[in-house]
C-alpha cells in the first residue's frame, strides 16, 4: 500500500529511480540491434570512421534518443489528458490533434515532398495546431470548456481527419498512398540530432507546463465546484493543460507518425503503481514513457532479424490486449 500522501521526497526518489532506468535503457538499446556492433568500440577514442561508430553513433543513438523523446511526449500528454478528462482510460490520440497532424503530413507527402524532408514534420505540426485550435474554440460553450465537450469535438475531428486522409489516398497514386500509410504507421528513422534536440526540448517544456498545473488538476479530480472553491481557475487550467498536452501530441505525431497506446498505457500503469497524484505522475510518465518506447522500438528493430517492424505495430500488440484487460477490470468495477 502506498503512502498516505505525496511528499516532495517521494517525488524526487521515484523520479531519480526512473531517470536511472531510462539512462540504463538508452545505453542498452544503443548496444542492441539487428547488426552486431560494439558500443564500447564505437565510443572509444579514435573510433570515428569505423563501422561500429557509424552504426552506433550515426544510426542507433539518434534513433534511440528520438524514441525516448517521442515516448516521453506521448506519455506525458496522456497523463495530462487523463487528468483533464478525469478518465484513466483516455488516449491522447482521441482528441483530434493527431488526426490534424496526419492529414497535413499526408497531403504534403502526396504533393511530392520527401518523407525525410523537415518540411513534413513542420507542416504536420501546423496541422496539429490547427486541429487543436478548432477543438478548443468549438468545445468552448458558455465560457466553459468541459471534458465532455472536448471529447465529443475531438472524436468528430478524428473522423473528419480520417475521411480527409482517405480522400488524399484516393487521389494519390498507388505508391504514394502506400508511402502515406507507412508514414502514418510510425517511423523513427532519423540521423538528425538537431531534430531530436528540438523535440526533446519541446517535450520538456510541455512537461514543465503540465507539472505547473498538476496540483490544480489533482483538485479538479474532485469536481469543478470543489476545485473552484479551493481557488482553482478551472477554465484557465483546463485550457492550458489541453493546449500543452495537445502540442506534445502534435510534436510527437509530426515527427514519428501515429504510435498508439503509449499515451494510454504508460500513465495508466504508473497511476496504478504510484497513485493518481499528477505531481508525481507527470515526471514519471515522461521518464517511463521514454523508457517504454525505447524498448518497444528495440524490439521492433530486432524481432524479425534484419527486417524491422513499424514500432506502432509493437506498441499496438503490447498495448491493445493490455488495454482490453484493463477495460474489463474497470468494467467489472474492480480496484483502480
Amino acid at each position: 500500500m502506498r503512502a498516505a500522501y505525496l511528499t516532495r521526497r517521494r517525488v524526487i526518489v521515484v523520479t531519480a529511480a526512473l531517470l536511472v532506468l531510462l539512462l540504463a535503457s538508452l545505453l542498452a538499446a544503443a548496444g542492441i540491434g539487428p547488426v552486431p556492433a560494439s558500443l564500447w568500440r564505437a565510443l572509444a577514442p579514435g573510433a570515428a570512421g569505423t563501422t561500429d561508430y557509424m552504426i552506433v553513433v550515426q544510426t542507433r543513438i539518434p534513433r534511440v534518443l528520438l524514441a525516448g523523446v517521442v515516448g516521453a511526449a506521448l506519455a506525458t500528454a496522456g497523463a495530462g489528458f487523463q487528468g483533464l478528462l478525469a478518465n484513466p482510460l483516455a488516449d491522447p490520440h482521441v482528441l483530434g490533434i493527431s488526426g490534424g497532424a496526419a492529414v497535413f503530413g499526408a497531403a504534403v507527402l502526396v504533393m511530392g515532398v520527401d518523407p525525410v524532408s523537415p518540411i513534413v514534420p513542420l507542416v504536420a505540426f501546423l496541422g496539429a495546431l490547427g486541429a487543436m485550435t478548432v477543438v478548443v474554440l468549438v468545445a468552448r460553450t458558455g465560457g466553459r470548456t468541459t471534458p465532455h465537450a472536448l471529447l465529443l469535438v475531438g472524436v468528430v475531428m478524428n473522423a473528419i481527419a480520417a475521411a480527409l486522409i482517405m480522400l488524399v489516398n484516393a487521389v494519390a497514386s498507388y505508391r504514394q498512398a502506400q508511402g502515406v500509410l507507412f508514414w502514418m504507421m510510425g517511423a523513427l528513422t532519423t540521423q538528425d540530432y538537431s531534430l531530436v534536440a528540438l523535440v526533446g526540448g519541446y517535450a520538456i517544456v510541455g512537461a514543465v507546463v503540465l507539472l505547473h498545473h498538476a496540483a490544480a488538476l489533482n483538485l479538479l479530480a474532485a469536481g469543478e465546484e470543489s476545485a473552484a472553491s479551493l481557488g482553482v481557475d478551472v477554465e484557465r487550467v483546463r485550457r492550458a493543460v489541453f493546449i500543452a498536452a495537445a502540442l506534445l501530441v502534435g510534436a510527437a505525431v509530426s515527427v514519428s507518425g501515429m504510435i498508439s497506446f503509449v499515451g494510454l498505457i504508460v500513465p495508466h500503469v504508473l497511476r496504478l503503481a504510484l497513485g493518481p497524484d499528477l505531481r508525481l505522475l507527470v515526471p514519471a510518465s515522461f521518464l517511463f514513457g521514454a523508457t517504454f518506447l525505447v524498448w518497444a522500438d528495440t524490439v521492433a528493430r530486432t524481432v524479425l532479424g534484419p527486417a524491422e517492424l513499424p514500432v506502432g505495430v509493437i506498441t499496438a500488440l503490447l498495448g491493445g490486449p493490455f488495454f482490453l484487460f484493463l477495460l474489463r477490470r474497470s468494467l467489472r468495477g474492480g480496484p483502480r
Binding site: 539487428p34 552504426i55 515532398v113 518523407p115 525525410v116 498507388y174 505508391r175 540521423q191 524479425l304 513499424p310
Partner: protein, 278 residues
Amino acid sequence: MTPSGAALVVLALLAGCDGAAPPPRAAGAARVVVLAPSATETVFALGAGDRVVGVCAQCDYPEATAKLPKLGGYLTPSVESVVGVRPDLVIVVPSPGNREAVRAIERTGVRVLVVQDRTLDDLFTSIVAISEALEVSDAGRRLAADVRSRLDAVRARVASQLRARVLLVVGHSPLIVAGGGTLQGELVEIAGGTNVAADVGNAFPQVSLELVVARAPDVILDAAMGTEEGGRALFAQLTTVPAVANGRIVSVGSDVLFRAGPRVPEAAAALAAAIHPG
C-alpha cells in the same frame, strides 16, 4: 502493373492472394477489359490492343490507352463500369482490394483471367496465359522470346564487369528496400548487381539504417517516391558505406521498374546503366 510489394509488406501477410487459375479455352475474346497496367502492356504488345474496350485508371501505356474508357482503379475496379462495357474477357492481377470486385464480375458470367505479377516467372507465365486466352499463342511465344533476348542482352553487356553490391531503396522513411524473390531484386541481378538485401525476408522489408552500414553496398539505387535530395540526405552521414563515400546514390525511375510487363528489359537496362555506368 503493381508496386505490389511496397503495398503488401504488411497486407500480404493478411491477404493470402489466390493463385492464377488456368484460363478456360473459349472462342476468341473480342471485347477485352484489362485491369492492371502490366497486363495492359502485354495485351498491346501481343498486337491485340484493338480488342481492348476498357482499362484501369493507372493503365497509361501505350499511348492508345489514353482514348480508352477508364473503369476504376487498379486496386479498386468499378464493377458496374466493367460490366457496362460488355466484355467477354476480363484480365486482372489479384490484390486484397479487388478480390470482392473480381468475384462480383465473375458472378455476372464474364470470363475472368487472373495473372500474377510478382516475379519474372510470373511475367512469362502471364504472357503465355494471356496470349492463349486471346488465341494469339504465336505472338505470345514471339513476345516472350523477345523479352528474354533483350534481358540476355543486358546480362551480356555487364557480364565482363565485376558484380557490384547493390541496395534498391523503395521507401525513404521508413526505410524500405527490395528484398529477395521480387521482380526488382531479379532485375538487379540481371543488371550486374548483387542485391545485398536478398536474404532479408519478405518482399519489401522495412530495415534500419544500421543494416545499410553493415551491408555496405557499392551502389544505392533510389526508386522511392520523394526527391533525390531526400535520398541523399537520408544516407549522407553513413560515410563508411562505399555508395555514400563515392557518391554512388543513383535515382532510378520507378514507372517501369514496378511493372511486370514487356518493358521490363528497359528497366533492367536502366538499372544496368546506373550500376555500371560507362
